[in-house]
Symmetry: C2
Subunit: 336 residues, 2 copies
DNA sequence: TGTGTTAATGTTAGCGCTAACATTGCGTAT
DNA sequence: ATACGCAATGTTAGCGCTAACATTAACACA
């Protein structure tokens, strides 16, 4: 990526044109060109036409880096997700970027990979690009991450959860209540041996807590918790480690589907309704695939894209309600 | 997002500290602070310690916008994908960002939503942030997009395909051959009435072309093509529109799974091996879900993350082979 | 006739940093 | 002692743009 362009080639050096170059060509000063770009109404129509012509001829591409430094507006937002690959957070990124891009904002994307140290590094990296807001999944894992964000003096949106003491704004839902809702449903269905499978990130843990509390409060034996790594294939074998279980809440749909694939192999899955399932399974996320699976997956439906769009709105509007609960709904299909 | 911070509040104004502020506090000039950040070996250990202390005390966060303008290195790459939500391209973004982030590069993400005009706008928006490279899925749809990229004088990587006349670098596979491979397999299996379902983006179309050519060359009747919108649910009903078909190539796994869900409803799916399926189904992408489905989905496996990592490598190294064919493999499971 | 008023354009300074070139001080060879 | 090399630090200019404040000309109004 070194710049070994021979400069002594021709008279028209391959130097990208600047505002002044356009201005010179159009016979105006650089500020007028700048105005054509940002506030065209301030420029006389003929002048504007001449400038636009010059921009076209030179193939001018504005330099937003310089513009950002001069105006201290970068028109960018930093987005931090644990992971983007086959994850539910992709919907959120899509949602927020659909909202932000038409407004001229760029999305700077970073992944923490569920690693606190990397999260801090990414947060610092994002902030050094001076985004006008940060949208992240969850909350900073470390004190350092918190400090960084609190000192940044820009809107911060935490998503996919409802932290008790948010840094600034929130767009999420109550993961604890989701766990409670699933437990209630499973108990009402008459299930007795419940278990929870999935990751151990903060949000999954909150779900587990709600699940546990509700089950124990109802007098049933304590549910088991199986912590699985992040790919669904691992959950295929999970059933062997959960003998006697008759209902499972999976921290997300991928785990739920993997678990069901394992149940099928074990002959513990039927194509009938939930009441006929030897083992009930409830997921979270409402992946399209869950609907296509047979038996169709019952799940906690969460609107990932709405979370993203709401987060985008929260970065743009200061003031107003800064804590939005997008809720969730228990969608009952055939798996549990 | 206006900055109405009352400046006459205290003596310690809430102005983010600059390099010079740190320098002043540490008793050195700003350039020394800059060196501590970029080339610490040039600074005496005690000085460095003093500077680092000052940075910590002030909570200094470097301003890469200014740094980029001064050095004309932004340490960022622009990434353009059709869509990021529940798509196979998320793997590619993950792969390239895993490679790029540790090197200090940020990813600026944009989505074209399969829309040529939006693609051009996003390309222009990306370029105006002066990324050091552009990685995109496919090739620019318009002449204007091509022109923009050719004039940008930075590495451009086109992915997920092997364009005949690439702008610069390529990391992808031969979509035409993928179609041929699927056709060959299906024909060898004795299937007679073949069809293709999926989108009509350039890559899907290339797959269709290979599929069609191979089938017609073998003397079988022309395959049918059903163009579906981008969500898998639409493909559930696709079977009704393809009576008599005994083999289907879906442009991606999501469509394949949706189609299979439809087959199941119609009683045209069994849990046995491929030879027993009334209708063979082959997907593309090798989604984890496909493996969990029953019957397990046969598919063209493509390594989306390897495409991303390769693309990242191609942006970093000029010279060397600039056209990398990552290939694909036909993974046969139970669906066809 | 002078005095606003407004529309259109220009001038100046500087955003926060880094490249490129000084400068300083000190140890060492001659 | 003089020159030289080198390590550590500093000075200067400028990246490409925009905010804030001129300036100019044309015209309306009393």
């Amino acid at each position: 990526m070194s710049s070994e362009v021979p400069k002594t080639e021709t008279s028209t050096a391959p130097v990208p044109p600047t505002l002044s170059a356009v201005g010179k060509r159009a016979g105006v000063s650089s500020i007028t060109v700048s105005r054509v770009l940002r506030v065209p109404d301030l420029v006389a129509p003929e002048t504007r036409a001449r400038v636009e012509e010059a921009m076209r001829e030179l193939g001018y591409v504005p330099n937003l880096v310089a513009g950002a430094l001069a105006s201290s507006r970068t028109n960018s937002v930093g987005v931090l997700v644990p992971t983007i690959a086959n994850s539910i957070f992709a919907d959120t990124v899509q949602g927020l970027s659909d909202k932000l891009e038409p407004l001229g904002f760029s999305v700077i994307l970073a992944q923490s990979r569920y690693d606190a140290a990397r999260e801090d590094r990414m947060l610092a990296a994002l902030l050094s690009r001076r985004p006008e807001a940060i949208i992240m999944v969850g909350s900073p894992a470390t004190e350092e991450g918190n400090r960084l964000l609190r000192h940044a003096r820009i809107p911060i949106v935490e998503t996919w959860d409802l932290p008790a003491a948010p840094i600034d704004a929130v767009a999420g839902f109550d993961n604890y209540k989701a766990g409670v809702a699933v437990a209630k449903h499973l108990i009402a269905q008459g299930r007795k041996q419940l278990a929870f499978i999935g990751g151990d990130d903060p949000r999954a843990t909150r779900r587990w807590l709600g699940f546990w509390d509700e089950i124990v409060a109802s007098g049933l034996p304590e549910p088991r918790r199986l912590i699985l790594d992040r790919n669904a294939s691992g959950s295929v074998a999970a059933h062997a480690r959960l003998p006697d279980v008759d209902a499972v809440f999976a921290a997300n749909d991928a785990h739920a589907i993997g678990f069901m694939a394992g149940l099928r192999k074990a002959g513990l899955l039927c194509d009938g309704p939930a009441s006929q399932q030897p083992v009930a399974v409830i997921g979270l996320g409402d992946l399209e695939m869950g609907r296509l699976f047979s038996p169709a997956l019952s799940t906690i439906s969460v609107h990932g894209d709405a979370i993203g769009r709401t987060a985008a709105t929260l970065t743009l509007e200061r003031g107003g309600e800064r804590k939005v609960d997008l809720g969730f709904e228990l969608v009952l299909r055939d798996s549990g």
